[in-house]
Every structure is written in structure tokens, then in C-alpha cells.
Subunit: 355 residues, 2 copies
């Protein structure tokens, strides 16, 4: 059945897969809902977006996404409250960042209507797929890539924007042990580290695998010039608590301007927690670990929410972090997720209802 409302075509599936899904045991990002949004950019213009059954895409083997990594994405979540209402968290920020990424990757900006209205309609159509088990949510993946063909190393002339939905459980199983990395780097000065460009992630897999082989779950990236300052943790920004001050490093062209990061900073300030945004050296973390002033480290990102780090490794030595009863990580995570799941007031005006 195909219906066209305003500037969106909707083709519904005849075979919902929802009955096959075990919503109590959802993995992260492996189960997909019945529909997806697809919109193509051709002849210099975005075509009419279409919601259609989730299914394969057909591409020329010479599509530039295969050869030149022209691809970007966003990561968002939809949350369902006890009454079945559905909410997004600061979706405008994801939309803005998507187009910051697209500019750096020489891709055409996606119109707000295509992104926002498309997402809204897609979520309404597949709202039964939004899980309600505690800790689970609907992971939303807007992405764009070069579908135009050609082996000349230059931008493509055709692009595809799409959104898929994955009802998901938590990203990490438990607490995370990280390795502070000094050999490999995530991004260059003047590079694309601040963008959610596909290539930034592929480059992390091998060093992360080496860390996993050594018994860690994740790498803490340091700056590629001196390796003296911590920057990010995989797909998370990083926070450090020394005594009672919460620290995170400033964003730069090497670091993603995370929405969770800035939300956590705002919540911390509202909670009366002292915060500092400044460069954080590995040396100072080690010293703090040794003199007992290092209280917490955690990662923050949409997929992994707030992920407490229970130990870090540096040059072969592991440093354990204390177990706190009243950690900032837990307190800030609770404040943030209460806003996300509509369990509390939203003093910041971050929640946006899907309706």
C-alpha cells in the first residue's frame, strides 16, 4: 500500500517481523524495525523521501561510498514513557551535526524537513517497535553516503540519505576497562575527527582489537601529536572526576562535539557540581590515581549513555578506580535518563514528543 502525504511517500510492509522479536533480550543495533526512510540526491536536488519496507539497497560497484569513504551518520534514540508517549532528546542537535559532518565530507546538506519530518513519521509508523524494558530504547541511525558512481577521487554526484531503527538493549554489558593509547590515533589536526564520518570508526577497530586482546574493552584516544592529553573513548566523550571536580576536555577539530557530553555538563552545573572544561593530561590522571584524588572516569555518548570506567591501563600498568556509593556517573545518568524517559521535569527543554 502506497500513500503520499505532503512530501513523503509511505509504502507499508505487508509482512511485519515484530512477532519474531524478543523484546526482553535485545542486543545493541542488530534487530531492525519494519520500515526505513530513504531519500536520494540526484541532478543537484533531493528527491521525495520515501518510507518503505526495511530491505537491501542496490548500488553500483563503483559507487563512491565503497571506494572513497564518503559517508556520515548520526546516532539518536527514541524513548517510550509509561503511558506509551514517545520522545526524542535534543534532535535538533543531531540534525545540525549531521550537516556539519556533511559539509566536511563534501556532501550536500540534508533539508530539515526530510530529516525531521521523515524521522517523525517513521517513528510513528514503527512505534510498536520501541522497547520499554528498562535500559532499552529505540536506537535511531540516520546516515548518508555517496551512491554516485566513478573511480576519480572526487566527490560523487549522487547521494543517499536514510534512517533505520534498531530497538536496542545496552551497548556495554558492564563496567568498562580502558587502555590509554599512545601509539595509534583517532584523528588529525585539521582532519575529520569532529565529524561523524564513517572512516573515523574503521580506523579505530584495529587498535581497539589490540586493546581487547590485552584485556581491555575500549581505547582512550590521546592527541596524535604528543599523546599527552586524553581526547575520546571510542564512540564516547570522556569525563574524569578529580576530588569533587568533574573534568572533560574541550572539543576541537579532532573531537566530536557530543550531545551527551554537553547535556551532562549542563546537568552537573545545575546539580551544583564543580565542572572544568580543559585539557586533561595523562600525567595528571596517573598522579591523581596514585594519590587517591581520582574518584571516577566515565564515557558519555548516545549509544552507551554514561559508562563508568572501573580501571585504566597505561604502559602496561593497570590503575583501578574506587567503587563509590554516590558516584557522579550514576547521579548524572539518572537525571539525564529521567528526562529522556519522561520520568521527571525537563528544565532544559530537551525533550521533544513524537506525535
Amino acid at each position: 500500500m502506497e500513500t503520499a502525504s505532503k512530501d513523503l511517500i509511505i509504502e507499508k510492509t505487508a509482512n511485519s517481523k515484530i512477532a519474531q522479536v524478543d523484546f526482553d533480550n535485545l542486543p545493541f543495533g542488530k534487530v531492525y524495525s519494519d520500515h526505513m526512510l530513504v531519500c536520494e540526491y540526484k541532478n543537484g536536488a533531493w528527491q521525495t523521501p520515501k518510507i518503505q519496507p526495511f530491505g537491501p539497497l542496490s548500488l553500483d560497484p563503483t559507487a563512491k561510498v565503497f571506494h572513497y569513504g564518503q559517508s556520515i551518520f548520526e546516532g539518536m534514540k527514541a524513548y517510550k514513557d509509561e503511558n506509551g508517549k514517545v520522545f526524542l532528546f535534543r534532535p535538533e542537535e543531531n540534525y545540525k551535526r549531521f550537516n556539519i559532518s556533511s559539509e566536511r565530507l563534501a556532501m550536500p546538506a540534508v533539508p530539515e524537513e526530510v530529516f525531521m519530518n521523515g524521522l517523525n513519521e517513521l517513528l510513528k509508523l514503527d512505534s510498536d517497535w520501541i522497547p520499554t524494558t528498562p535500559g532499552s530504547s529505540m536506537y535511531i541511525r540516520p546516515f548518508g553516503f555517496a551512491s554516485g558512481s566513478g573511480l576519480h577521487a572526487s566527490p560523487a554526484d549522487e547521494y543517499t540519505f536514510a534512517i533505520v531503527l534498531a530497538p536496542s538493549g545496552s551497548y556495554f554489558a558492564g563496567k568498562v576497562k580502558v587502555k590509554i593509547e599512545e601509539r595509534y590515533s583517532r584523528s588529525a589536526n585539521g582532519g575529520v575527527g569532529f565529524a561523524k564520518a564513517g572512516g573515523n570508526y574503521a580506523g579505530q577497530f584495529y587498535p581497539t582489537q589490540l586493546a581487547v586482546d590485552e584485556g581491555y574493552q575500549q581505547v582512550i584516544w590521546t592527541d596524535d601529536t604528543s599523546h599527552e592529553y586524553i581526547e575520546e573513548a571510542g564512540a564516547m566523550n570522556v569525563f574524569v572526576r578529580i576530588n569533587d571536580t568533574l573534568l572533560t576536555c574541550p572539543t576541537s577539530d579532532r573531537i566530536l562535539d557530543g550531545i551527551t557530553r554537553k547535556s551532562i555538563l549542563d546537568i552537573a552545573k545545575a546539580e551544583g557540581i564543580a565542572t572544568e572544561v580543559r585539557k586533561i593530561s595523562v600525567k595528571e590522571i596517573i598522579e591523581a590515581a596514585e594519590n587517591g584524588s581520582l574518584k571516577e572516569m566515565f564515557g558519555a555518548g548516545t549509544a552507551a549513555v554514561v559508562s563508568p570506567i572501573n580501571a585504566f591501563g597505561f604502559r602496561g600498568t593497570d590503575y583501578d578506580l574506587p567503587e563509590l556509593n554516590d558516584s557522579y556517573a550514576n547521579r548524572l545518568k539518572k537525571r539525564m535518563t529521567d528526562i529522556q524517559y519522561n520520568k521527571s521535569e525537563d528544565p532544559f527543554g530537551w525533550r521533544v514528543e513524537v506525535k
Copy 2:
């Protein structure tokens, strides 16, 4: 018609497109031959490779190549001599580098048999497509990407290796005017710059476009830490001639170990040209331009062969290079292409006949 010989399945096209091609006016990398090689990696093993009609690939929208840039490639050429014999140039080097790239991108190594035998059979099948117009050749694009699905930022469990063929004319139309870049960078220390990873190229498009808007064709990348040393030019390594010495910078984890680069170095040595492999500062190039000792600059790579640079821009000032009658660029290019097209002896043993 489908035939299986040894470990290769061959399915020939019923509709050759060759009659539609104007072989005297070939663009670069836009016309593709009738067939392609495809080989899939599944359940921990490479499956039987298949030569099949060139045509679209079908992929899950959640295939990791779209999201995490797990993709690599090679660039090679096949040359046809006056008697119709077909040659590759140092193909073992491309095969080795492909797997150096695949390791860094956490992808499974492609077996030599799949790569080499597959390429050989594909070239034999589509040998009528190899152009003979001067300056043209068959551009060969082996590539590999993550076809396995999932939104978790970790390596895929399925991959596709493929080879497509593009009968091609020259990459650049004429001499090249370049801009020495100080703001944007191509690669990080400890990053993936030495690999032919897709993401390295997408990151260059936007800064290159800015340079094109200022009247240049290409960017000369400098190191991302100090921007004091030149490193590469788009998809080419860079050579500088000061007085009668030919300079090129050493390879590193930021720089691709180009096969043309090392071939040019070997040919130059055999020609009795003084060569130096060492860091080259922007300062020294400017000084040499100003005192007249800067004789030549050129890029070197499979696609663009040897591309003389006729001017470079730095901080808004353009510096012209002299027109030489007997340039190293022309001499070295002729020696190399004579070997490639079987017009001369091959003292280095670089030519490999396709038969």
C-alpha cells in the same frame, strides 16, 4: 553461461557493451568493462570467487561499509603493447599493500589466488576492452568492504572483495597547479594514512574543493603537527628537484608507500640522477623557488602517472616553476611508461604478462 574452472566461477555477459564505447575519448574511471570479479567472505572464510557481468551489488542498509567506513582499495593498470600482449606493472606490490591496508582496517586478508588469478582471468576475458590510444590504459580497481550488517561500532563479520576494470584516458588534463595546505590535514600520526582506506580520500574532498575554488587543481598535504613538511599530493606522492638532486620524503604511517614513487626512485638512480629521501620543508621549497634552484616538482602515482606541477601557492602567493626542455619528470615518465607498455627492456623485472 556459467563455467567453473579450478576455484573460479565464470558467468559471461550475454550483452557486451563494448560497441558503445568511444575508445579514442576515454574519460578516467567512468567507463567500465563487461565483467567484474566478486568474492565474499562469510562464516570466517572466503567463498569461491566469481567473474560475472558488471552490475549492481545488493547490500543491507546496515552493512558496516555505509556506517563505519571499513573499506580499502588498490589502483593498478594493465597496458597493451603493439602486438596485443597485455602487461601488469609490479602487481605483487599491489597485492601486498592491499593486505597491509586490510590489516589496519581490521579486515580479513584476501588470498593471493583470489586476487591474482581472479585479476588475470578477468583481464583475459575483457582484454578487448584494454585501450591502445597513447596515454590510455586499463585502470584496475580491486576493492574490499564490510558487507556484514550491524550498528555496533566494531568490525563486520562479512566482507566483499571485488575487482572492476575501467578503460581510461589520463587523470589530469594538463599541468597541475597546487596549493600547499596548512589548515587541513590528510592523516594523523598513528592513523591510517599509509593504508588505501576509503576514509582517507573523503576527508580530502572538502579542502581540495576550497583549493579548486582558489584556482588550484590539487592540494599538497603537510604534516598535521607543524605543517612545515610536505607529504603527499591527493592520490600522488611528491617529488621536488632542487638544482640537479631529486628529493622525495620518506614514507611513514601518514604517507602511502607508492609503487610509482619507488619505481621512479629506482629509475632515477639507474639514470645516474642524484636522489635524496628525506623530509622536505616548505621553507626550503620557497627559498629554492626564490633563489632559482627549484627546478621541478611533480606528483607520481598509478592513476596520474607522473604529473608535472607548474606552480604552487603558499599563503596566498603563487610561485611558478620553470619550463624545462629536458625535465626529470618527462625523462623518468618515459622510462617508466616504456617499461609498462613493453616498449623497452625491463631491467628491473617489473613487467608481468597477462596470459
